[in-house]
């Protein structure tokens, strides 16, 4: 049976959007001259409404909003992906270790996981990015280090489920040790779930990045969608009704996050067996 047939239409649409977004993020830096985004060198007037020349208008410094949105895709996607990989990586490791091995270590890991699971991740991320030097790395760390517990919880549950299955008991009875059980039985069954989780984690990481940037905690040297909205708020886009400065970056976030979510849910439907 073709696995793709289980993939929903919404999932396909999401995947298509992601391909486009990735292409934009990769190609944009090659096509946009640095001058067009340099506050000191732009020539256009600030707060221009959309028109023939700047078809999404200009921001408070006179830079083209359209170019900013295109340029911002790279930052948002990069942070989203790396933070998600970091977070899911930590979560998977903690989950498998605390699920497979019993004893004190597992107990302590579980306690720590549960503790961080209930803490508001954004508050921790804010605290981390406040104390660490500003930069892309800080944002990735702040998001990745605070969002792993849900993955750990899920991977642990899956590990426990698999280890309770008779085929693992059979493997042990055959003489298989920890490495054999984890490598041959636990990991292969955890991988699909981890994949789904990574996709969904990218979505929430992008939202988290935009929130941190909006609060002024982003990398001040880089353009991201959240940072654009930070500028919009700071320079009064709302009272000026500069909808062209407010809508595009926000919509970009919504569309990309929704796309990741749809792909994640479609993957989930494929990997979880139907009853």
């Amino acid at each position: 049976m073709n696995r793709l047939t289980g993939f929903s239409r919404a999932g396909m649409a999401g995947a298509a959007i992601l391909v486009v977004a990735a292409l934009v993020a990769l190609i944009a830096p090659l096509l946009i001259s640095a001058d067009a985004l340099d506050v000191t060198r732009v020539t256009a007037a600030p707060w221009q409404t959309p028109g023939a020349q700047h078809w999404l208008g200009t921001d408070h410094t006179g830079r083209s909003v359209a170019l900013l949105v295109v340029q911002g895709a790279g930052t948002s996607l990069f942070v989203g992906l790396t933070a998600a990989v970091l977070s899911v990586g930590i979560g998977t490791l903690v989950g498998i270790v605390s699920g497979h091995f019993g004893g004190l270590v597992a107990g302590a890991l579980l306690r720590v996981t549960d503790f961080f699971l209930v803490l508001p991740a954004l508050v921790l991320a804010i605290a981390l990015s406040t104390v660490l030097p500003r930069g892309l790395g800080t944002i990735v760390l702040a998001i990745g280090l605070t969002s792993w517990p849900s993955t750990a919880r899920m991977v642990r549950a899956q590990t426990l489920t698999i280890e309770a299955r008779p085929f693992v008991e059979r493997a042990r009875a055959l003489g298989g040790g920890h490495g054999h059980v984890i490598g041959r039985h636990v990991l292969p069954s955890v991988v699909p779930l981890v994949l789904v989780n990574t996709t969904l984690a990218v979505a929430s990481s992008i939202v988290a990045e935009s929130t941190l940037a909006f609060l002024g905690l982003g990398d001040p040297t880089r353009i991201s969608w959240g940072a654009m909205l930070h500028q919009a708020q700071l320079h009064g886009a709302v009272p000026q009704r500069a909808w062209w400065f407010l809508l595009p970056p926000g919509l970009a976030i919504v569309v990309v996050v929704l796309a990741f979510t749809l792909v994640g849910r479609a993957l989930e439907a494929v990997v979880t067996p139907k009853r």
Partner: protein, 515 residues
């Protein structure tokens, strides 16, 4: 000798059910008179549960139902929703299988019994119903998880009787229960059916359970009704080959025709268990057990669930550490860890109850069977070793199966793969935990025959753990009876099963339903 029926409570006329293009029930016609008890037998997937659910129109929307289902003369198929709701439970009720899941876990059982009475305006009290099923009255305030399996099934029966129906359908009512508890529940059902002159349609895969409760018997196979008649006659003289296979699967204890094991001379001891104690926290699961298995001997360890027999088996395999006592294999104490334990595990192999879950669903047959070879890094051509083992387990030709995934195989084939995975390491002892309990009746005999052939040809000894005294009669040389962590009686099969000396053994034998 079916009595002439004038006004049947239930009449099925050419009932056919499709799921998509798959025909699950095929042209089934049968009638049930008031006060009549009819057993519907069949293996898993024979369509018997679908018949039960169709009577109250409880099948999922995807099912297409043709033919007529007349309940008290009215066609269920053409009823309006309102009429149907009024008929449900008041005319016919169901005792579902698996009471644990068929009762709402967060509501008190008393409320759940009273619910249909309030709904249909039936007079009566919950306490009377509980009395009828011999449950203490204060249990009305209990939640399902606070009751034992037998008590939950009694609650289901009380609930089914709540609105005084003319027909009760019981779908595998005792399947998950222990022999002794099963006997108690069946007694209650039999008494109530007789007292209240109910029609009973009882569905089970277990012929002996049906023989115990029902006057008439119908056998289903692949959706069709293949045989129908008086229970004694059907079992004594089955006309359809499938019925014959079903009856053969339930051995009669004491009948030499059902005793398949050949008598063997007293063998040298292979495995000895000496004064073994295993504790789970504060509870003592195994309490001072002595047991010996000879070279090439088949020993059956029988007992109810919770008797400690599974824990004993796990400890023998080195999967659990004993609290005290010793396990001696081939003259040496079984090591508790490291390389020596790993080497020991080559000699003793495990066969589990449910082959579907004993195989990793992602692993092909080749990988599943070769797992032991890879764990022990055994030299030689892997594929030829695997092929030999698979063919020993009677999957021939092996290359037809090596690339299959477990879900593509039948239950019997899966169990053969598990056995092949054990054989490939050339073990000297097989520990089999309920090896045939989850298999269909017709396959069961083949696996039993396979285990006996392996003993004959390879001299392979087995410890068979089972709740099924019939299996012990069929296959074992010796029987050990386990009760509350202790072995209360052991000896040759004939001695223990035909002339039991311990009260508990006698109680177990009494509880076995008689065909």
């Amino acid at each position: 000798m079916t009595p002439e029926v004038t006004n049947p409570v239930l009449e099925l006329k050419k009932l056919t059910v499709h799921y998509g293009h798959k025909r699950v029930v095929d042209d089934v016609s049968l009638t049930l008179a008031p006060g009549q008890t009819l057993g519907l037998a069949g293996e898993s997937g024979s369509g018997k549960s679908t018949v039960a659910m169709s009577v109250l129109r409880l099948l999922p929307r995807t099912a297409r139902v043709d033919g007529e289902i007349l309940l008290d003369g009215h066609d269920v198929q053409t009823m309006s929703w309102g009429t149907l709701r009024a008929v449900r439970w008041a005319s016919a009720s169901i005792v579902f299988q698996g009471a644990m899941h068929s009762l709402n876990p967060v509501r008190r059982v008393g409320d759940q019994i009273a619910e249909p009475m309030r709904l249909h305006g039936t007079p009566g009290r919950v306490t009377e119903l509980l009395e009828q099923v011999e449950l203490p009255l204060e249990k009305a305030r209990a939640y399902p998880h606070e009751l034992s399996g037998g008590q939950r099934q009694r609650v289901m029966i009380a609930m089914a009787l709540a609105c005084g129906p003319r027909l009760v359908i019981a779908d595998e009512p005792t399947t998950a229960l222990d022999v002794v508890v099963q006997a108690q529940v069946l007694t209650v059902m039999k008494r109530l059916v007789a007292e209240q002159d109910l029609g009973l349609l009882m569905i089970s895969h277990d012929l002996s359970v049906l023989a115990e409760t029902c006057d008439d018997l119908a056998v289903m196979h692949r959706g069709a009704l293949v045989e129908r008649g008086c229970t004694r006659e059907v079992i004594a003289n089955p006309r359809h080959p499938h019925t014959a296979a079903l009856t053969a699967a339930f051995p009669v204890i004491g009948d030499p025709a059902h005793r398949w094991a050949e008598p063997a001379a007293a063998p040298e001891p292979l495995l000895e268990v000496r004064d073994l104690v295993v504790d789970y926290g504060r509870t003592r699961a195994v309490d001072g057990v002595d047991l010996t298995i000879g070279q090439g001997e088949i020993v059956a360890l029988v007992g109810q669930s919770g008797s400690g027999k599974t824990t004993l088996a796990r400890t023998i395999m080195g999967l659990r550490k004993p609290s005290s006592g010793r396990v001696i294999f081939d003259g040496a104490a079984v090591p508790l860890k490291g390389r020596a334990l790993k080497a020991f595990r080559r000699q003793v192999q495990l066969v589990l109850q449910d082959p579907a879950s004993a195989l990793n669903p992602r692993h092909k047959v080749l990988d599943a069977v070769a797992e032991g070879l890879r764990v022990h890094r055994i030299p030689g051509d892997e594929e030829s070793l695997v092929t030999a083992a698979v063919e020993r387990a009677e999957l021939r030709p092996a290359n037809l199966y090596l690339d299959s995934l477990p879900h593509e195989l039948s239950g019997g084939q899966q169990q053969r793969v598990v056995i092949a995975g054990a054989l490939v390491l050339q073990p000297r002892l097989l520990v089999a935990d309920e090896p045939v309990a989850s298999l269909d009746a017709s396959v069961r005999g083949e696996i039993v025959a396979l285990l006996l052939r392996l003993r004959r040809e390879l001299g392979l000894a087995s410890l068979i753990i089972t709740h099924d005294l019939g299996l012990a009669w069929q296959i074992a040389d010796r029987v050990a009876v386990m009760h509350q962590g202790k072995i209360v009686e052991q000896g040759s099969v004939e001695q223990v099963l035909l002339n039991p000396s311990h009260d508990y053994t006698r109680a177990l034998l009494r509880a076995v339903p008689q065909v």
